[in-house]
Symmetry: C4
Subunit: 321 residues, 4 copies
């Protein structure tokens, strides 16, 4: 595989290092996440909490909120019990179990600032705890407000990629490596930039090294994404892939990482999307089917479910120049 030497180590560009990739362990997964386990971190990392709360799944998030609400009420109920339930005017419980629930519901009414008042605090201690709790309640829900807004307004792109990389005819007498993408969201994406990084294991004097190449693309950016975008890497003489066979790619654990950057018009935010293709996602000799058509009014109709549809085609022989 006679590949052109590059001045800088392209692996630095991705910070991936030159360790060979083992089957089913690519560095960037198909969903775009980075496949690295991180250890040696400090145990207490407050700077990661906000990130965790913002990125966790919604179900888990609501459960966490509910759990905190219960836990805080249990704690405050215990404090009210410790001070003495006789300081809760209107509490009608007659045994410890009922006392606890009186204190628990009084706490809930205080922290949520509902304050019906059929149970009300009496005496310095209980009044002080209640005053503190209502303040804490407001701050806790201030926190929740911030978190909810942070979760909602988090910039993110929902890009759908074709499941396969096609080797298709390109221009008059060339082949091109192609994949296709479209925006699943209703917002308009503008100023899109794309980068495709091809990596494979290379045997250098018996030592297996990982090599990285940024593939040259027909076009690296588009102004606005209204329909779909077919990204093309021409398989010409400058391509590191030009002499590789499907077997070579499989043997060398070839992967293609895709890094997309765009500007979200609705929220004025730069958004990113990543994906990766494995050698097994390649189809040699195929062509994408069109994704859009016209309705009776002449309006273009884009079918996003067809983004990965392709038909087989015989590859013409490449004209050598």
């Amino acid at each position: 595989m006679p590949i052109k030497k590059q001045k800088y180590n392209p692996e630095d560009d991705l910070g991936f290092g030159s360790q060979p990739v083992i089957k089913s362990q690519p560095l960037i997964r198909q969903d775009g996440s980075v496949n690295v386990k991180r250890v040696g971190l400090p145990v207490f990392r407050p700077y990661d909490n906000y990130h965790k709360l913002i990125t966790m799944k919604w179900g888990k998030f609501w459960l966490l909120i509910l759990a905190c609400y219960l836990a805080i009420n249990v704690i405050f109920a215990s404090i009210y019990l410790a001070i003495g339930v006789q300081n809760l005017n209107g509490a009608e419980g007659t045994n410890t179990f009922e006392h606890f629930w009186d204190a628990f519901f009084f706490s809930a009414q205080t922290i949520s600032t509902v304050g019906y008042g059929h149970i009300s605090p009496k005496g310095m201690a209980t009044n002080s705890v209640a005053a503190l709790e209502s303040m804490m309640g407001l701050l806790a829900f201030a926190l929740a407000t911030g978190l909810l807004y942070g979760r909602f307004s988090r910039p993110s792109a929902k890009i759908t990629y074709s499941s396969n990389l096609l080797v298709a005819p390109y221009m008059e007498d060339h082949h091109g490596l192609m994949f296709r993408l479209a925006n699943l969201r209703r917002n308009t994406l503008i100023d899109l930039d794309i980068e495709v990084i091809f990596s494979f294991n290379e045997d250098v004097d018996g030592k297996i090294m990982r090599r990285f190449y940024q593939l040259e693309l027909e076009r690296k950016n588009v102004s606005i994404l209204t329909l779909n975008w077919t990204v093309v890497h021409p398989l010409n003489d400058k391509s590191p892939l030009k002499d590789m066979t499907p077997e070579d790619l499989q043997k060398s654990q070839a992967t293609f990482a895709v890094l997309l950057k765009a500007f979200d018009d609705t929220f004025s935010q730069t958004v990113h999307s990543r994906t990766s293709y494995q050698h097994s996602d390649l189809v040699w000799g195929a062509k994408f089917k069109p994704t859009f058509d016209r309705d009776e009014d002449g309006r273009i109709v884009l079918d996003l479910s067809k983004i990965g549809d392709f038909s087989s085609i015989e590859l013409p022989p490449i004209q050598k120049n």
Copy 2:
């Protein structure tokens, strides 16, 4: 129409494809929205909800909030009724209808955390539901807070464009295609960039293809927009429009898409504005009237209602060089 071949397909630049445009179906509408119908999307798209809630009309937004408030109260009222209205201390209703309203208003007082207390919960079940409801209430209004802030702070430009594209005298002996724009908002726009894309249907061996050209402009950016900006495309030898007649433009469904990018000084956000002109918006031989004058103190007065005003003028013959 002998137009210079471009290296890359410019239609890719807009992701518009090469499908011909049919009358009254331009790809970018005059209000800047993209005229594409999208199908084949997953039925459940939670990632679009925030976008919808942020971009819907205000009237619809308030109605939705009100409807949710009513619906939630109806649901909780039903739960309180199911548990038994005797667990609502102070509820004075004597029949099911009155019981329901007692429960409904108790629910409203709980979810809004008003909690007057003339009706108050009794027993484990009712107390638990009320505690949950008051928490939900706070979270719901936390959501509303986030949405309201998101709606308000959404970056957007209010640009007014002249209704017409003029073909006017330009420099000493040339013609220029011109339109004019100004900022309707009080904020200051800086670092403005503009792009004008000209597209038309071309008959290529009987097959009608859509062609796209980015028009060269006298200037593509200005530092600050204080008054108005007249955008000029010189109709010189390099222009794809240079030999086209009004009839050519009409026959080929010519449209001009305008993409404007600016930086909003008040909110530190990049904002975008788009519009489009159809061939019927062109006026051959006209000149914009001035939009600003001086008041008695010498201060410049900008009249934004005059942004589209023009007067007819005879076009001088072009000097061929």
Copy 3:
């Protein structure tokens, strides 16, 4: 005044137009605001409300909030009165005046969701209005929360500029036009870019036109602003100012607009600052005094009150080359 012709009209760059400037009416004021009166706007401009609420003075903002609070309570009090004050349990007023205040304070307790409950709603109508009011109250304070956050987090730079533009010795045998700036805020400003635009009235065949020139600067950007920055325009052969006398500048209403762009490290926002100098702010033959010194520990002490301090100096004759 033999000034080099520029390819593009530099007035377009600022969108200022070529109207001559009249005394005390520069286009950019010293505080950086744009001195243009805008008329011909639509009467109803909802898109300007948020901008107004975010940029108004704090005193005015609080007064507006208070006024709204009073007005809303008066409206709701009137509604409760209209429905009948007998539907407010616990209201003890005995005449219309007292009835009104009972209703008013009940409204205040409802909209703020305090809901003491010593006055409580009775009957469908009053209960419904109260339920609506408490919801409105929460939404209104959600709005206030968003506005307060929007006001606080609004990106803005507090740059202090020297009051004068100095013509000082520069390099070995040249003159330079200089002013000085520093950051009044505690945050760190990085990636600063500056632009200085010189404008004056020119008599072109009896018609007075405004001319604009972007002055070439010794350096247009700095990486980080830790102390102060002295911005220098070398008065060399390429300067449009090179042959101008103080009298020329006065006669031609010369002004210098300064546009500064920086990145605020604390809030990750691009911030802007603008100012302008009039011909009367120029001092011919002066040099800035240092603004910083060392304390006993060797630490640098920056005195921000000295940013405009200068001492007179005799200008050396310029070496012509």
Copy 4:
């Protein structure tokens, strides 16, 4: 030290001035903060309040919130006392001390909008104050919400740097100055840019001046930071360090300022990190140990605690060219 003259004063680039640096007083501290004392500021600086509240330590922040809550309640309690405690229905205190606490807790219940109602306002004056207080309460917690969100969402990078700068073998026959960095956070950093500024005291005709040089790096940016990044300054002929000995560096108070810029994928924000190395942090003849390995599944495991680990190595003699 024959160092290449630069066209512009590089000290301007950092705004650091040419004052020599004294021991233990570098201009940028290791934690990235700027070591400058600022005086001569206006006494009243409202524009710094938000910045202070956003950047203060969490402990201090919560104490301040608590202190404000107490202070406001004391003030309002005093007002209620002044109006007369007989206007607080349900207050059962019998002496001034108890009266005060009744008023205090009533105030707390009002400002937090809990409003149990066992104490309720009577008469115009007390009702008016309570109505005002509840509005203030909501606004105060609106402020707190904004501040909490502002604190949480504040863009910041947590980068761990190696404790030492190594002089290590580089390429085949050169030396390189190296340090290493990694992201402590779980978020993905992309589009990283780095700048290293070398500064030292130089004796110019008996006057000690501070000199600044931006060091040329093997690579100034990487696309994505997945593992670690070893930043390398080649010690070749163009390096201002090429003839300096450890003794030279110590004598001239050499420091290396590191400015890192990156894009945080999760929050769509540009983040910055700064650090500095002193001459005493240099290790001549050392090599970083690897920070990552593979677990049994072939997945890469990055140990962030090893970021500074190095082993001594003999430096090969440099090949002069």
